[in-house]
């Protein structure tokens, strides 16, 4: 049957299981927007800025494990997506960005709202294409989605000119694709896996570092089996948080710049690092030359280009983490590491990274812990970037995969509000908390309107410290307290919420923290709490840049002021 390009797009997306599109219209998208209402299976969510569309689709994909779809018009709509696409690229999130383009006969003429978005996004997409012929459309959609989801996931972009949306052709959705150059290795090499098993079976002080790849491959059970059978302690990366239950006896927090002291010490002292679905990011390794100096390293990753990129490894295994662990686990023998684990427990007692200081003012760490208690840990936490992000990672305990949604690789302030939207849309039955800095909140504040329009039950906590806190912290600790460009003049956040039609309260006393949290959760629909917090609180532990993981700074404090 003859179909228009717009119909082909809608029907192809439906065939791929897409249910939600985060979008924002414009001139060249009119034929598509005229078609979308005929496909009620596709829920269109109107954002207020295209960056929000990309972040929402990104968080939606992380929560659901499905591909996220965002849609923007040509020119400024397309360029507004760029930050969001880059965010998905660095965090390996399957994202399909669809941009409208000026009609083909205008391309290359600097036509109104014409921009070369495929050129712009080459370095931040796995695959992108300007669709110049309607005959290619269905195949390109199929290829783009396949590439986005397969191997190491990532964003893809299709740029579709207006006349391609309007053109007509016979629609047959292809059932096969032909991409001879796309060759993800999904199964690890048997002899490499054997070598890894031999090392694990003989190591004395092994540590697993579990990354976001475990989430992506849904290899939770396999990871758990490996850890339990061989009694190896598990440290996660920042994005790996939740891929292994933090309440498990073998869980030792997460590593890196603001990671737990005992996690960093464990890695530094280990004789075998089993790195699973992670990429030795500089924020994770500290001074890379001194990373795990006495350890042999097994590195399991689906991306061959990650092997040996940041540091040399002893046993590389290229393959899908789940497949590799399934084979590996069969070759692992039961072990005990009583001395090693008790050493780790000793370090944990020495560096209690999750205790909260007694303080008359509202400490941000206290708020996070109260949210944890009020939700009993059963919530999805979506964060912005900065200090509040780190406290959310440290003071909430994550037992469920994909319950901590944060911008790790790009560190994008402004991810929090649209991210929370995507998370709530993807998991409507979950409690969603948006942890926002007062800086980051203002970068995408307009998405409050999207929450109201879609009536999304989201709890928003704005941490008002009056600073771009994380940068202020660096100025304090590294630039001798020369604060510049980090102090914020802030609006009345509760009034802002009210103006959008959102209920809100301001909390500046400790005793009001918990009731406000309860009130927010009891409320149906979006609710905002502005927490006026201790302004110059710092995030600890802190591994200063260029230092080894074990050279972390801790809050100077008398032991007696500690409180469980």
């Amino acid at each position: 049957m003859m179909k228009t390009g717009a119909e082909i797009l809608c029907e192809s997306l439906i065939k791929e299981g897409v249910e939600v599109i985060f979008g924002f219209p414009g001139g060249v998208l009119l034929p598509l927007y005229d078609t979308l209402p005929r496909y009620p299976e596709l829920r269109h969510i109107l954002v207020r800025h295209e960056q929000g569309a990309a972040h929402a689709a990104d968080a939606y994909a992380r929560v659901t494990g499905k591909i996220g779809v965002c849609l923007a018009t040509s020119g400024p709509g397309a360029t507004n997506l760029v930050t969001g696409i880059a965010n998905a690229y660095l965090d390996c999130v399957p994202l399909l960005a669809i941009t409208g383009q000026v009609p083909t006969n205008f391309i290359g003429k600097d036509a109104f709202q014409e921009i070369d978005i495929t050129g712009i996004t080459i370095p931040i997409t796995k695959f992108n294409h300007l669709v110049t012929d309607i005959e290619d459309l269905a195949m390109l959609i199929k290829e783009a989605i396949y590439v986005a989801k397969t191997g190491k996931p990532g964003p893809v972009l299709l740029d579709i000119p207006r006349d391609v949306f309007q053109g007509k052709t016979e629609f047959v959705y292809p059932d096969k694709i032909d991409l001879p150059g796309f060759k993800p290795k999904l199964f690890g090499h048997p002899s490499q896996i054997k070598k890894a098993a031999d090392l694990i079976n003989t190591a004395e002080r092994p540590v697993i570092i579990a990354g976001h790849g475990v989430n992506i491959a849904t290899a939770y059970l396999e990871l758990k089996e490996l850890a339990e059978k061989s009694q190896v302690p598990v440290v996660t990366t920042f994005l790996g948080i939740g891929c292994f239950p933090e309440s498990h006896v073998l869980s030792y927090g997460w590593l890196g710049m603001h990671g737990m002291g005992y996690a960093n010490k464990a890695i530094h002292s280990s004789d075998l690092v089993i790195a699973i679905g992670m990429r030795f990011d500089d924020r994770a390794t500290g001074l890379v030359a001194s990373f795990a100096p006495n350890a042999q390293i097994i590195h399991i990753d689906v991306d061959p280009a990650e092997i040996g990129k940041n540091l040399p490894v002893d046993v590389p295994i290229v393959g899908d983490v789940k497949n590799v662990l399934q084979v590996l686990n069969k070759q692992i023998v039961k072990r005990e590491h009583i001395i090693w684990l008790s050493q780790l427990d000793e370090w944990r007692a020495m560096h209690p990274a999750t205790e909260i200081r007694d303080h008359e003012n509202v400490l941000p760490q206290y708020i996070i812990r109260q949210i944890h208690e009020a939700t009993r840990g059963d919530a999805i936490i979506v964060t912005g970037v900065g200090q509040a992000q780190m406290w959310a990672a440290q003071y909430f305990f994550y037992d469920k995969p994909n319950s901590f949604i944060s911008s790790g690789g790009l560190g994008t302030m402004g991810f929090e509000l649209p991210g929370a939207i995507g998370a709530k849309v993807g998991a409507p039955n979950e409690t969603v908390w948006c942890i926002a800095g007062d800086g980051g909140f203002q970068m995408t504040v307009q998405e409050l309107a999207t929450m109201v329009q879609e009536d999304l039950d989201i709890n928003i906590a704005v941490f008002n410290n009056g600073y771009l806190g994380m940068v202020r912290q660096w100025q304090e600790l590294i630039y001798n307290k020369r604060y510049f460009g980090t102090q914020l003049y802030n609006p009345d956040f509760v009034k802002i919420a009210e103006a959008y039609g959102i209920k809100g309260v301001r909390v500046s006393k400790k005793i009001d923290v918990r009731p406000a949290i309860e009130k927010s959760m009891a409320h149906k629909g979006p609710f905002l709490i502005e927490f006026v917090v201790e302004p110059e609180e710092n995030v600890y532990p802190f591994v200063p840049p260029g230092k080894m993981l074990v050279e972390f700074l801790e809050l100077p404090k008398p032991a007696t002021s500690l409180k469980k």
Partner: protein, 189 residues
Amino acid sequence: MIRKHILIALVQDRPGVLNRIASTIRRRNFNIDSIAVGRIEVPHLSRMTIVVEGDDAKVEQVRKQLDKIIEVIRISDITNDNPVAREMAMIKVKASPSTRSEIIQITDIFRGNIVDVSPDSLIIVVTGNQDKIDTMIELLRGFGIRELSRTGTIALPRGGAGPLTIEEDKPLRHAVEHVPPEDEDLPNW
């Protein structure tokens, strides 16, 4: 060790391939010495020869990054395989009646051809490895070079089947077949 590397690649003819390849190399801060592209015997496929200068490990990193580009079917670093590498140059040299015969002599020594003669200049075509062409250009510089165009290196590995050889009974690996062949052991890093 920093040295010149010759990478050869089999790529799908799709828009933007050259762009993606150049962008991936640029991101890693490498200078592209030369890049030569042409169709091959199989429809819709092209072959590229890329010469970059860099540290062995870093070039291997870039090669792996290039291999991730969807349109790149295979890519191989043949620097250590003693490949046959050639480039072609067209050189337009000033030539007066008094210098013409000397230029022709030099051209003969380098087995070049004179393909155009005008009252005050000659166009010489020469092929060879980079060193040979560099030397010839140096010698001709004294006469006055008016225009120069070089193709950049193209290269083939010596001997039987090379890393890019497409054998008739072994079609290109398709995305649906993910199992690595048993003999394909990973190098030891």
